[in-house]
Symmetry: C2
Subunit: 159 residues, 2 copies
Amino acid sequence: MDKFLQTFARYVLDKKLNITAQRLTIAESFFKSEKHLTAEELYLVVKNFDPSIGQTTVYRTLKLLCDSGLAREIQLGNTSINYEKNYDTEHHDHLICESCGKIIEVTDQSIEFLQNKLAEKHGFTLTTHVLNLYGLCKECHENREHLLNNKKKYFLKKY
Amino acid sequence: MDKFLQTFARYVLDKKLNITAQRLTIAESFFKSEKHLTAEELYLVVKNFDPSIGQTTVYRTLKLLCDSGLAREIQLGNTSINYEKNYDTEHHDHLICESCGKIIEVTDQSIEFLQNKLAEKHGFTLTTHVLNLYGLCKECHENREHLLNNKKKYFLKKY
DNA sequence: TTACCTGCAAACAGTTTGCAGGCCG
DNA sequence: CGGCCTGCAAACTGTTTGCAGGTAA
């Protein structure tokens, strides 16, 4: 973890920018977090540490983290931007439960391989990709069985 | 095309809503369009037909079209929501050029198959998925060759 | 000292909502 | 006629920007 802070610090210095308490606090909170946070969510976490930090600075620091390659923007819902760690980890895809919001990260080499082949076929040079699979997780699927039954009844009545 | 208008009209009536000139104009413009429009873009098209239509109505009608299953929201860039036709077409993935913005629609059965297997492995029941491949199209890749060379020089100088 | 950094408030873009009047059926 | 529909303006959300004062090096 400190390793990432150091990487971040080095990047900041390289760009002739300053290392500040705010930037370190925000970066550290980001590295510590387990989830895909939005700027808003990270702001709330950071504010617990140091209530004087404003959200503007969180936005700006997240942008810095992305520039440095340590973070990455991802699109999960249609609402706002989530930020994901982008170091020390393979690229991964997401299984997203539309009911409880749970997100499972997965990697699948054979899918990656086919994606590359597909891009090649169309003359594309890939830089990145997004694969989100939306649906219901096992638990939610079971809980919703009765809802589905209701829907079935509705259709039967209708036709 | 008229077929889709009729489907839309039937859906509207089914929901005990009214068929109005605005809704028909907006739906027709949407069906005619070849691209993935945003609400804003569709509004501009519609305004050519009938300048009295407001964007609020475009938003509301697009929502109706989604409810009816004839349209679908998709995320392409990080900015706004694009709407895509969702009828009479297979599901398709997108190859997106980050330079010129060109979008190529593709389908790949073997990738779909692997996605389903992946979801199954995690107990997920899929409803939909998003696969966007970002990169450079052939033309842009070639045009950017010299830019890449400049970057290389930069790195060599630095290390 | 000098340029960068920060928090605040204001601006902004995309989208949604409240409302008064209008139209469909 | 009654409830749905519309356009307008205003509200809202997430994000960015201008600015005056503060801080790193």
